[in-house]
Amino acid sequence: MTVPYSQSFVIEGRDFVHAGKASTEIKSILKSLGVDPVVVRRVAIAAYEAEMNVVMYAEHATMTFSVTPEVVHLVVEDRGPGIGDINLAMQEGWSTATHEMREMGFGAGMGLPNIKKNADEFTVRSEVGKGTRLEITIHIN
């Protein structure tokens, strides 16, 4: 594997068995590319939070991951209910999670705030009834 590198992953909503597979693969790829471990951890956490959001709330999504010598870029585009109030969803502790999600240790309202914390650039666009698009950029240097 060499930089620049790009790969897309399909994530299915409600598929709790495979939840986290895309993010763990992204982490392994970044490690094998020799990216700084601090950056790898930030990307992995952002990707995993985004992936769990898809599994918990959306029907289906594509996560596109690309690496250049300067940045790691993640785009997560889902088909799902969308987010009615993005400002509210960005607040720590705000969540619409079900009991099942909480039993898995998620749904505490930390997902989007934690992505923001780990990203250098983060944008969320959402349309209720259609879906959500997250764009995450993390600088390598």
Binding site: F16, V17, A19, G20, S23, T24, K27, P37, R41, A44, I45, Y48, E49, M104, G105, F106, G107, A108, G109, M110, G111, P113, N114, K117
Partner: protein, 127 residues
């Protein structure tokens, strides 16, 4: 603190290869059943104490660079949990102690927390 010392202190049963333990240096302690909190507040090189025995616990540990997972109250991980932990080379142990006792024993030995006290809440604040 070495993971082998933690294993002894907490009277752990070890579910992954025991040979791994002496080589694992643990710098911090982290305790939560909320994987969201682990992702948000843990640091690389920590041991995670948790009562949540699921595959997602191991996925979270791998993502957050947790060095070892200790299940509290003697909870037994199932085959899927152990298989993923082996694949990701994450030591998995179980202690008979409760979360509170296990944390106390490690804290008393000087293992620092991964988390800073929350800001904006005074220790003297009255409810």
């Amino acid at each position: 603190m070495l993971l082998s010392d933690i294993s002894e202190l907490l009277a752990c049963r070890v579910y992954t290869p025991k040979e791994q333990l002496p080589g694992v240096q643990i710098q911090f302690g982290c305790a939560s059943d909320l994987m969201s909190d682990v992702l948000a507040f843990s640091r690389a090189g920590a041991v995670l104490l948790t009562g949540l025995v699921t595959v997602q616990t191991i996925q979270t540990a791998y993502i957050a660079e947790i060095s070892a997972v200790v299940f509290v109250r003697g909870k037994k991980p199932n085959e899927d949990v152990v298989a993923l932990a082996r694949e990701k080379h994450i030591p998995v142990l179980a202690t008979p102690y409760s979360m509170y006792e296990a944390c106390g024993l490690l804290y008393r030995k000087g293992l620092p927390s991964t988390m800073e006290p929350a800001t904006g809440v005074s220790a003297h604040e009255q409810t």
